[in-house]
């Protein structure tokens, strides 16, 4: 059992209370283009973080290096939908920058780079 599982199971109130509370009533991400592999990264611009929740700050720390939305969700151990809402907040504040392209089929040069990379591991 991970330390985070107690976020999830609130015997009295039902299983979704904690994640719901984490997003403070916000229900869907404002950034619609957050996909599984979309890259996010903390920006160098540092806003006043006192109003941020623990989860937001944890995301900021994780994103000191670029990560995918899926990785952030996995490291935080929260469902994807919840992490997308939290990331939306940070993107809106300018605290997190995001890859602004939707997933597209890689072109030849990109495929060649991936091929060389995989051969090299």
């Amino acid at each position: 059992m991970t330390a985070r599982e107690d976020w999830w199971y609130d015997e009295a109130a039902g299983p979704l209370v904690r994640p719901y509370a984490m997003v403070r009533g916000r229900t869907r991400p404002n950034a619609p283009h957050l996909h599984l592999v979309t890259q996010v990264r903390a920006s160098s611009f540092t806003s006043d973080q006192t109003s941020l929740t623990v989860e937001h700050r944890e995301i900021m720390a994780l994103c000191a290096r670029p990560l995918s939305v899926a990785e952030v969700a996995a490291y935080l151990d929260v469902p994807l939908i919840v992490v997308k809402v939290l990331l939306s907040d940070l993107i809106e504040r300018g605290d997190v920058i995001v890859q602004n392209s939707s997933p597209h089929i890689p072109d030849r040069d990109l495929l060649q780079a991936v091929l060389d990379g995989v051969r090299g591991i």
Partner: protein, 194 residues
């Protein structure tokens, strides 16, 4: 003096992905683990109890939900490109997940276990119908190399153009060779389309 860089000096890499699909227990997570640079991670999508994908948290507070888990791994190609490998969820009913996984993917590896060929049919159908490049990798569980590549191709009724490879998903070099085979197949498909 403290230098504060402007935001546009910070870049994010281009992310690409490959889907590792196949039937229940065919070795998808094993293959992800054998080539990933990090131990496979797990992320969860929320579903209502009825199996409907939750993309809006409104109104579900306190309701019973369930999750569908995705295993994935990562290979940093270089400072500009990162490759993610996603194992599909074991249960085929979560097709919404497959759509998200397949969108923009380089392609898919469909793992098959020759003792239960039919369990990989739905994966093959999925990628065939959506025109997503895929190859078939026969995971050679101990003592199950009962069939040749041609026999598997025939049994799965596969087009001649779809590569079929034998592999051991536990073996890094073998799994690497499968990924290389898929990327080359995707490149060939791209060239054929020009």
């Amino acid at each position: 003096m403290v230098f504060v860089g402007s935001d546009d000096q910070l870049t994010v890499p281009t992310a690409v992905k490959i889907v590792i699909a196949g039937g229940f227990g065919t070795g998808k997570t094993t293959m992800v683990a054998s080539v990933s640079e990090i131990p496979p991670l797990r992320t969860e999508e929320l579903l209502t109890e009825a199996g409907v994908h939750v993309d809006d948290l409104a109104g579900i507070e306190g309701k019973d939900t369930t999750t569908v888990a995705l295993d994935f791994g990562r290979i940093t190609i270089n400072t500009k490109v990162v490759l993610y490998l996603f194992g599909t969820p074991g249960q085929n009913r979560f097709w919404f997940m497959w759509d998200e996984l397949a969108t923009g993917a380089i392609g898919a590896v469909v793992l098959v276990d020759t003792r239960r060929l039919d369990s990989s049919f739905p994966s093959i159908d999925f990628f065939e119908h959506r025109g997503i490049p895929f190859i078939v990798a026969v995971n050679c569980f101990d003592g199950s190399q009962l069939y040749t590549v041609d026999e598997v191709r025939h049994a799965l009724d596969l087009d001649e153009a779809i590569p079929v490879m034998l592999c051991d998903a536990r073996d890094r070099e073998s799994s690497k060779a499968v990924l290389v085979g898929l990327i080359q197949h995707s490149m060939n498909r791209l060239e054929a389309a020009v």
